[in-house]
Symmetry: C2
Subunit: 251 residues, 2 copies
DNA sequence: ATTCCATAATATGTCGGAGTAAATGAGAGT
DNA sequence: ACTCTCATTTACTCCGACATATTATGGAAT
């Protein structure tokens, strides 16, 4: 080993390593780290991630990888960089909060209670309307997707990852059944809210109610091609989820 | 000039140049080109943008710039790249269609009629509910933003860019007044829909109705803190816009 | 002929250095 | 006090090399 290499190793030992899971590229790992740091409030809007070179050295990665990560954050509206001034964290209303990856970063640490409330409000607006449309337009493939999701929910409780996945799939299937690409694009965001909800309920000391019957009611209304009943059933479903979450919040 | 440079110029002359407007970075311009190409259907899901090096040479840019552009597209869910296989265009339901930049690319060429309908459906779902919330939570700053937007709409017709901007600002102000970050994040998407609507109406042979009174009705209801009236007024507003657009489509 | 494993081929991923362009701030000149 | 010019800082772009991951290939064993 050359002396230069040795010195470098000594230096890098003090630097923060970026954890890159299997299959995850380096720049993706950097974007994840910076993204979670921003969403968690470690960097607040107006802060400057100054020094492309300095930052890359600190993370012990090349500038290329660091820059590609910055491009990802820029694409999601989290930061903007200009010569001389550096890379600045943008105000929150510029962030693409509905981006699936950004939502993941937001829920990586301790999620903000207020933001969870906001997502529930969005669900309360979108999902009943989506159920209404689904009841009007659904075809066999959509119904099968919902049915499969319900079957999976029967076999796994919400305390398991597969159970939560089934819950997400059910809500996603309804959004897909609207045949509206804009609504389908929201399914990732809605799914994140659904997922976190169930996780949170699991942590709660109160016994979570069995959500299956409420889901079945929505499904039945869609099968019966009854838009208003579907919307109402979904409305109940979201309200109950919100109520459960509120209880868990107070605990 | 060296001979090498001369040869290079001869080669580059045949290559497609990427148009980069003022203030736009090179990788941003590349992302714009590829993004519009994908959204316009030039590349369809499953297609492979193979050859990082080949593509970069064809566009006459360095591999770094090309790669950063690809990271942007990847961040928006348009493509995914793996070693050996290349960069593949993802299925449409993976696209972040509500991303402001993606929406811009979608409307860069001839917009898809069906997608416009979908965006109107989203507006019809979200905006009345947002107006309802705005009527409950609005404060002076929100009302001022709406009032300013209305004033700007009085002075400029929708045939001008400033007029369209005022229209966008009004709808954006209502979403901001909900104090819901998730809904605020939708304002860029809604704004794009609003903007394109007015542009489309302008092209239409039928005389566009004056939208100002309808907007004022929404504003008045919000000022009066009447949630239901605000929701209903906004409902009417979106319906009328949809109707106008439908007429223009048939023409 | 078929299956399996080692190997090679190929495209993306990562690296570090050099040079360019742009935005800011300081200083000279008015 | 103001404007303009220039120097500095920083991000932006390009380049060439190497590393890594995935697929394809070909031969050996069954």
């Amino acid at each position: 080993m050359t002396e230069a290499k040795l010195v470098k190793d000594e230096v890098t030992a003090k630097q923060t390593e970026v954890a890159r899971g299997p299959g995850r590229r380096l720049h993706g790992a950097i974007a994840h780290k910076l993204g979670t740091d921003i969403l968690s409030g470690k960097y607040v809007p107006g802060d400057i991630l100054s020094g492309e070179v300095a930052f890359a050295e600190e993370l012990n990665v090349s500038r290329s990888a660091y820059r590609e990560a910055i491009q990802v954050l820029t694409a999601k509206g989290l930061v903007a960089s200009r010569p001389k001034t550096g890379t600045r964290v943008l105000p929150r209303d510029r962030w693409n909060l509905l981006d699936p990856e950004v939502l993941g970063w937001a829920f990586a640490g301790e999620p903000d209670i207020e933001f969870v409330r906001n997502l529930f409000e969005l669900r309360a607006i979108v999902e009943p309307a989506a159920a209404r449309l689904a009841a009007q337009r659904r075809d066999k493939a959509d119904l099968k997707a919902m049915k499969d999701a319900l079957a999976a929910m029967r076999q796994h409780t919400l305390t398991t990852e597969t159970g939560r996945a089934a819950d997400r799939d059910f809500h996603s299937a309804i959004l897909h059944a609207t045949r509206n690409e804009a609504l389908i694009a929201l399914s990732a965001s809605i799914g994140a809210a659904v997922n976190w909800t169930t996780q949170f309920k699991h942590r709660s000391p109160t016994l979570p109610r069995n959500p299956l019957p409420d889901h079945v009611r929505v499904y039945d209304a869609i099968v019966a091609e009854d838009p208003e009943a579907a919307a109402e059933a979904m409305n109940v479903l979201v309200d109950l989820a919100l109520e459960d979450t509120r209880n868990a919040m107070e605990a």
